[in-house]
Symmetry: C2
Subunit: 235 residues, 2 copies
């Protein structure tokens, strides 16, 4: 398309702004946590929010999300999945803003967040003890939690959240934290072992437990196949 | 926020345009079809594309999608589900454009599309016999088909696509069209009846068939519950 033709299609009417926001879930201190930043600038200066910001014209949406995440929290090399796009009128006091939200699961303990750039602080918060969030970020977070809860029903989960070697109790606890309720131990073990995604190791948990628990790790090939193929985990 | 403060946040830097695009799937003449419009204007004048267009500043994303769909095809009252947001640089020759895509399942036979506004024509095309599409719409359509194929694995499907009363052969044919391959009749019937979403009627198919087939309809309450709860349909 020539420059002239292109100019013909340069719309003069008002345009919305486009932002990206990231919901990072992590597991630490026996809690499901989400990464928040404290906003350095108005609107909502001093308030907690999801890391994110305006897209640049020359980068893809995912690249924008990764850049904002790194600028504001120092975290990089995160595998982001697109969650949903939020575009209601009035969700941003600065004017019409469309936000493309992403989400990811990471090991919180390995990702020490540090506020920088437009964020005066970055911290992991337990999902059941959140501060009041800026914009419609409570709604975005809620949408991410719903997606995460749906995911455990048709995909194996945990690879990104647990340490490489873990006990069945740790895995059950992860499911309980995500679902927000306790699960029957016997039933859980039967189902999770029936999935054939776990490899039993010839090792036990370190530490002073009276009856040290066996350690497991995910059978990556089988795990990836199940992620792709899907199943129904009736819990 | 005051007008002055608001002005402070009115960004002067270049902004992307935001559009919505709709992927409507329908069933007719024993084919899975998608609704396309023929573009009346440049770029891609005369080419086929998904119905869609620029959002207005005062309407939600979904309202924009419904408006564009009605303007360009005459179809209204469609239940749209957000699919994915496409924002790669260079996907629109007019400049950076972010498109929020929606999709829906409808009965093609009941939705006679008619081109209008920015569309010189609107037509249902079989998904396996598509014309070359404008922009990255082939990619968007592909994403919608993938989502539809994934959906049949964890949700009942067909309520929006089939007539109110249908035979098991019709339902199987729908699954085959979506999955793009033949299914074993006995196995399919066993599984679909096991879902308990079907109600057997005291009626048979009209017409001259030698062995008229029984008619079924969806048990709406059970169907809705399964959509919500999910399952795994191993096919």
């Amino acid at each position: 398309m020539s420059k002239e033709t292109k100019a013909k299609y340069s719309y003069d009417f008002p345009r919305a702004s486009v932002t990206v926001d990231c919901v990072l879930f992590g597991l630490s201190e026996d809690k499901l946590k989400v990464l928040l930043i404290q906003r350095a600038h108005d609107p909502f200066a001093g308030k907690w929010a999801l890391p994110g910001g305006f897209i640049e014209m020359e980068e893809s949406l995912e690249a924008s999300a990764l850049r904002e995440l790194e600028e504001e929290t120092g975290l990089s090399k995160i595998y982001l999945e697109q969650l949903y796009t939020f575009g209601d009128c009035g969700r941003d006091p600065r004017g019409r803003t469309i936000s493309v939200a992403y989400f990811a699961l990471v090991q919180a303990a390995e990702h020490h967040a540090k506020g920088a750039d437009d964020a005066s602080a970055a911290e992991w918060f337990p999902v059941d003890k959140l501060p009041k969030l800026a914009f419609d970020h409570a709604k975005i977070l809620d949408c991410a939690l719903t997606r995460l809860r749906a995911k455990v029903r048709y995909q194996p989960i945990g690879f990104e959240l647990l340490p490489r070697k873990f006990t069945l109790s740790q895995l059950q606890r992860l499911y309980e934290l995500i679902l927000g309720r306790e699960l029957d131990k016997r039933n859980f073990r039967k189902k999770i072992l029936g999935m054939s995604v776990l490899e039993e190791l010839d090792e036990v948990e370190a530490g002073g437990a009276r009856r040290p628990a066996k350690l497991y790790r995910f059978h990556r090939k089988q795990y990836d196949a199940l992620v792709k193929q899907g199943f129904h985990f009736e819990i």
